[in-house]
Symmetry: none
Subunit: 217 residues, 4 copies
């Protein structure tokens, strides 16, 4: 049995190698961004020679795009959103926020790398960046759907605005956590964010000048 393992080690195993490469790449790219990710470093981290990486991925760009894709998938699946059947809006949105906060605490590489790619404005858009914007678009659509569901009276424009604001808050809070470290209570901030979204919704549906103090108890 143990002998077998030794043999297996020597045997080519594409699937596993691919996984090892991706694992190493998330780690490196999540720390250092697109340019900072060198094939040599990934190679060292995953134990495979650089040329083997090129067997599995056309080039660095495709490698990082693959990382984004996989990270998003695993991040999404880590997000066990509450069913739609129970609970009141406030509680459900709060629960969602909590889920997102937790997932960002557990797998921060996905968003960190994605935001780094987003902020880069290089001439030749790397496909990794495009990939992130795509998966982000998917997330945005989900949020829009949820908001439209919860607040059926809101016009489309306001729904979109609210969705943008919701995502922006998540991005910003994530960054705050990255900077502040342990001194930042991400869960509480996300709770606040959830609460506040209702205020925003009220503000938007009430139309211009929302009566101040409406939201305070």
């Amino acid at each position: 049995m143990t002998d077998d393992r030794g043999a297996r080690r020597r045997r080519a195993n594409g699937e596993e190698s691919r996984r090892k490469i991706l694992d190493a790449t998330v780690e490196v790219a999540g720390e250092r961004g697109y340019e900072g990710t060198s094939i040599a470093l990934v190679s060292k981290k995953c134990g495979l020679p650089a040329s083997s990486i090129y067997w599995h991925f056309k080039d660095k760009d495709e490698l990082i795009a693959a990382v984004i894709e996989r990270s998003f998938d695993s991040w999404l699946s880590a997000l066990t959103l509450p069913g739609e059947e129970h609970g009141q809006p406030v509680e459900r949105v709060t629960e969602m926020s909590r889920q997102v906060a937790k997932s960002l605490l557990e797998t921060p590489e996905f968003l960190r790398l994605g935001l780094m790619l987003t902020l880069e404005r290089r001439p030749e858009e790397p496909s990794a960046r495009t990939m992130f914007l795509q998966v982000r678009h998917i997330a945005a659509q989900r949020i829009t759907a949820v908001i439209g569901d919860f607040l059926p009276d809101l016009d489309d424009d306001s729904v979109r605005l609210l969705a943008t604001y919701a995502m922006a808050g998540a991005d910003g809070l994530f960054i705050a956590k990255e900077i502040g470290g342990d001194s930042v209570d991400l869960l509480r901030l996300f709770e606040l964010h959830a609460h506040v979204l209702f205020a925003a919704a009220a503000h938007l549906s009430a139309g211009a000048p929302p009566p101040p103090g409406l939201l305070s108890p």
Copy 2:
């Protein structure tokens, strides 16, 4: 006279060269981040040879730190905050938000580069990153002061939480604008953000007073 002029010229050129280098660097670094900024590219953009850049700046790290510093200064000076004497809280905060939104639209390189540096988690913290965190800390203190001023009843913890939330919103909205481009109405979003901050304040001050120490580790 002519000698004097020649001398002045030469000295002036020194400063002009420095400026040209910094100008080129904001452009490049704002597009490509820390690693993506190469001395050769900066050299090509500013027309001066690479070795001249090293006459003005010790190394790449110091160059980018200088860029951050200068960008922050010019960003701050573009921020003509309203005096504290007039207006109601709501209006004043709204006006502040508008100012910030406008400044981010005008000089986005500062925050873009800063956030890129922030997200990078490289082993040897470049002083450019540290520089950004410092200037960001200054900004955070100002916001905290303003909030404490407006809402004197709020406990310190809540003020800090609110300040964090305020900055996070700004960061997130900036990113949303970077991604969405013209389809994102940054001014309106910042207005919403201002409103929302009051709701958050209300939530924090009225809601079950947060157990002290919850936020600090």
Copy 3:
């Protein structure tokens, strides 16, 4: 029956694969020479994985040698030389020239690749080069034979010189065509070459100091 067909199919595929590889290699090597021909490129062109190429050919050197060999064969067979029985020398040589010109127009890869290999002076003579020199030697012998046949009075040295000159002309004209493209009338040039060979023969048989002006009308 069906089994048989399956078996035959499989065996036939072996040969077909070999052919596909050779086809791809002529194309690539005719364009880029020995060094410029990469197994990866050939693999992409023929659709078979690189390792399959190594099943059919020991290494790159042998692959290109095989290409040379096959190209020479097909070039030779495209060369329907006139029988020795009929016609006068002038006409027969002219016809030969025409044939050679036509064959070079139809399958230029053979000579192009061959000349590329010839001009390369690398330390370790690749067997591909040797192969070309061998087949070239065969061609040279044929020409020598033909010349000796036509001009029995010529001494061996002069025959060899003439043969060399004949081949050199063919090579040079081929190159001229490669450079000049459509603006070069290869057929007419080869006709001229044939004519001129007789003048050369006359010059050589007349012995040293050829009477100047003998050839002018």
Copy 4:
């Protein structure tokens, strides 16, 4: 004095370095062609690190183009063509041929590399190839001029044909020498070539006047 030399060695000397690089490159490229010429090999031959080569030349392509240009110049200047004032046509052309033969024996790298580039048909024409074709075009014009001078009665088409034939002969004989080595008497072959050109001229001017337009497509 000797000390000075030691110091000079350490001192940067662009002109000399450039020359050393070019010298090394002719040697390598003349032997191995475009693809076979590696920057590492050139670096080793000239003693300068690879990165220094990139200070003097944008890339490999430009380096080899520069080699072609310089080689052609030095080849041309090695060609001490006889003055036009004295001698009979036959002798003058014979002398010219001898000069060309000698120059090709002395500096064969120029034509060898040039022909190698010529034969390559890669998609992205390297500028080195273009450069060779340009200098070759200059040479062709000179030959055309000389022929037109010597044989004023010849129509333009025939002059061009003859010039093409003359150059083709030179190319072919050069290749014959490359293949045959010492067994090939290049000087005698070039003498033969000179003679033959007169025969060709006679053939063209006396023979049925070529139908005009025959050569143009």
